[in-house]
Amino acid sequence: MAPIYRFFVAKAQIVVGPAYPKFSFIERNKVESLNFLIDPSLPAAYVAALSGVAGLIWWLIRKRQKRIWLPTMRIMTLESRILPRLVFRPPPIMSFLCFIFLALLMLFFSLKPRTQILTPFEPNQKRIHLFVDLSPSLSAHLSIEDYAERLSQLIAALGQVGRLTYSTSYSPDIYDSTSGDDLRARIVSLGYHRSGIKLGNAIKKTIESLGEVDRLIVASDRDQHSWTGFYWRYLLDDMDVMMLDLSQDTSIRDNYYFSELRFASVANSQTMDWEVDIARNSVSAPASGELVVLHQGQELARTSWTIAAEKSRTTARLSWPAHLLGNSGAVQAGSAQSPLLFRIRPEASDRLSADNEFRVMAQGIRQDILLIADTNGERPLEDPAKQLAISLEIQGFRVKRMDFVEGAGPTPAAFPFWVLVGGMGSGVDRFCPKSLQNARNAVRDSVKASLPKVWLAPYSVDADYRELCQCYARLLKVSDNSTPEYCEHVGSRSQWLTLLPSLGAKQLGGEIGDASAALAFRGRHEASKLEVLAFTVPLMPIPGTSLNHAQFPILIRDILQWQGQLAAASNLNGAGWPRSEDATQTLWQPSLVAEARTRIIESNVPIAESLLADTDGPDLPPRWTSSLDSDSRSFPLKKDREDPLPWLKLIAILVASVTILEAVAWMWGLFSQRFARRAQLSVVIFAAVFVAPKSAQAKVALSLLGYDQAGLTFDSLAREVAQRTSIELFAKPEQFNRLTLEAQSQPWLWVKSLGLLMGSDAKLNPDALVWLRRGGFLIVEAALSDVQLKQLAVQLAPEAAVAGTAFEPLPPDHELLRSFYLLDALPPCNDQIWRGLRWDGRLAILIIPYGLLESLKDGGHPPVCPNPPDEERSLRVFVNLVMVALATDYKKDQIHLPEILKRLR
């Protein structure tokens, strides 16, 4: 195969370098690894395009001749404008080179090198990729040899159509297919894997590393687990997708598999008990078989099981003596790390054999502990280590107890974990073995050895801490039998507590900076890794340490877990040998360490694969028909061309915007030429072109405060006002129940009572006062007493209120009587007349002694007065009121004079 360097720039493919250089002296595999495809992302294409444009512009500018200033150009208006108005200045060469360099750098960094492209770039050949599913469910349909044979037949048929690559569900590696034999050998050697596969994930990753493909063929069965989540139709834009269906005899689906395994032993049990749920797919006849459990090839137990007719599952129980997996010597060291292998052997035929094996981590394996403690008496309650021994045993440890050390003590390798309880005043040699010190000395400078972990605890609160200190020093500090001087002064727990940190021990428990509540201190010998946990309290439930019998085992368990001597609870349920649902998440990971890979290869078959459930036919891609002369027209057509519409739209938008810009520039030129000497004026005129005048609208809504009437409308009134004047009144009033900001933005406000505008101190609301001063027009539809009126007036116009001239009857020449209709008087009611407060040269507050709106609303009724005004009169008054509210005394303005005179004539 010839190496080739390919660059994809958007859709264009550019071949760089010599087309097919001969590298015959390089081995084929090495040549393959030299191939790479560079697949730039879209931004990279943009960067490249912009760089190209920049280069072109730069070239154009550099190409142009000298530029010479000629002042009279200012007056030139030649018809044919040779060059655009924009002045291109040649960029400084260094800056430009920097820009180009950075652009190329960006392009380089945005390129993503890809490996494993084995298909050389041959535009005239179809590129076909075959994905081989090797998930366990396929083994229910055909043997691996048959599978390989089918695939080689397929390759033989496809080889003439185009260039073929293939990959398997084992790994993301892509192979170039040269012959069917090659493929057959590879498939047979790989075999089926035990993990399940999600085709969607697998094919997505494959295509990512593969680049462009014209046709994708998926060799698989119709297993629901594999096909779920694979939306193959989205690939049709880029390629044909087909399926080589390998499903056979889907009607027979007898399969036996492990449903669930549970470790059933109680703590401290002498046996290992397991409960195994065995399930099957069919529920017809009764079935039976055998269940075996193996460990490192050695059979531990065997039982038989039976599934009754019409039942789909059964539970088998297995039990074997714990010593078979313990320290009996029958199994090799590291037995805890190797899994238990459960195997079922059904008597009836079984479609899928891969799921007849199940691996779990061995559980319940015990560790030995050497406990050295004097009994201190005959009765258990007097034994300082009794509770500790029980707490350790229920965690699954095998406790070997010694009352005192004989000689140097046991060898360190005999026990991985030592607990020394001392301080009884009978001498340090009695509980502190010299063998550990000797072992530590031996490894101090040579190879590192793993020495046991040691707990050192006082037998009671009143222990002889000097002995404990001597033991601690013997284990970690001194190398001979001497007693360090610092231990001579240790007489109490508090002294022991202060000494330990100065010996380099780390505090466990208690507060930071306050060692008095510390539970223990951890010291460590760096060379030998000998670790001593020196407890400061006795390891027993006593009131002095507030440890009770219930808390004590939990404390011991937590310390064991923290020290790593006891697996955390979450690790106990067989993790490490999971059911692997998707090989792309496990097998395909390149960073797997060898041990993890072994486990994954031996991982358990997921239940979904064991179920052998088929997905529906319509959800699957078209089938590949094995006839060699199958017409390619039967394949679903892929989209050959990209949809040009977005590009056309983009071009249209560009053209339109360029045209608009050109028009604006032209207009600007026109204006600035004409008003060249009056730049500000020309800007104003130019801007005025674009400022569309807002159409003037004379619209007003009745804004009512505190009317609280649902469905209050003024349809007929609005119609009348619109017919009579050029003002449009909204039929629906704007109602407010308090003086909100929106209400304050209205030009007028109708109220029935002043309560809503008044504060608690009988004064006007500050907001209302501001609104009135700012130009608001308040209409009160109520007969107010003189006192009320004065109170109201004194806040807005104090001087007038004091003089008593604030609220006055409206004179006959008031604008309210002549603003639209010429009225002779305003209708009184119950001897109450209209009054107005004049402020700031306008009518600010108007008091109507009756409900004017009540008589004008839809379905309204005349006011309750001795001589109620008729409707026409009310209407005219209202129209005048609208005029005053909107335009105050507009007739004062001389500009209206000609129009008024014209009307008067």
Binding site: R67, M73, R74, M76, L78, S80, R85
Partner: protein
Amino acid sequence: MALMRPSRLPESSRAYTPGDPINLIDWKAYARTDHLLLRETRDEATARVRIFFDIGESMQWPREHLDGMTGLTSKAEVASRCALNLAYAHHRLGDLVELWPVLPGQLQTDQVFRPRSGSDILSLYDRLLQTGFAAEEWPSLPMSMGASERDVDQVYWLGDALGPLDYLASLRKGRLSVMVHVLSSLELGIDWIEQNDCYFDTSQMLKEYQGFALLSDDAYQKRLRKWQSHIADNLAKLGGEYILVSEQSSVAQWHQFIGSLSLKLR
């Protein structure tokens, strides 16, 4: 101070011809005879003369702007020389002269130089001659603020009419106005330009043409003539004079022009 207030004496009367200032028409005579007569007066004392001369950016052309050409005289130098000459001539006639230089980057004229004697003008001329008529020389001169907006008797504008200032507005302030249109001979005749070079303008219009566009069909000359006649028309509407001057205009021609002005004025 009495001299500042001219008392006018009638000098002669003649028939009105279009272009004459309207304020000189003898309306009483018109009422009597129905003929428009001009009653030309003469200031007994002095005339106020204001001379604007543009030495802005475009007037600095072509000095140092054209490579390959040496010995170029900028338009600013021509305008300065003419302005000083005019000032001297008027000063000799006893007029009050104000010199208003339009400096580069200036959008309104406010600095004014008022020579009090003929030697002032001569020493200024010497000084400018030494510095090569550089525009930078002007701010160092003893100038005063020319805030006076009072109309004057005669206004000159010397410049290329390409600067940012409105020459017509300045000329309108005088009862009589004269536009001395100063252009370079390189602007008047463009036989020196190259076909493929680009010729541009630095103003906000940013116009740019290639040489062949200017040369083809005599486009440049046509446009230039149209522009000159447009300026001359504007002056005629004001009742003013227009004269085109370049560094190649003859001194005799200039003296003739000055002489005709003096005749006309007096």
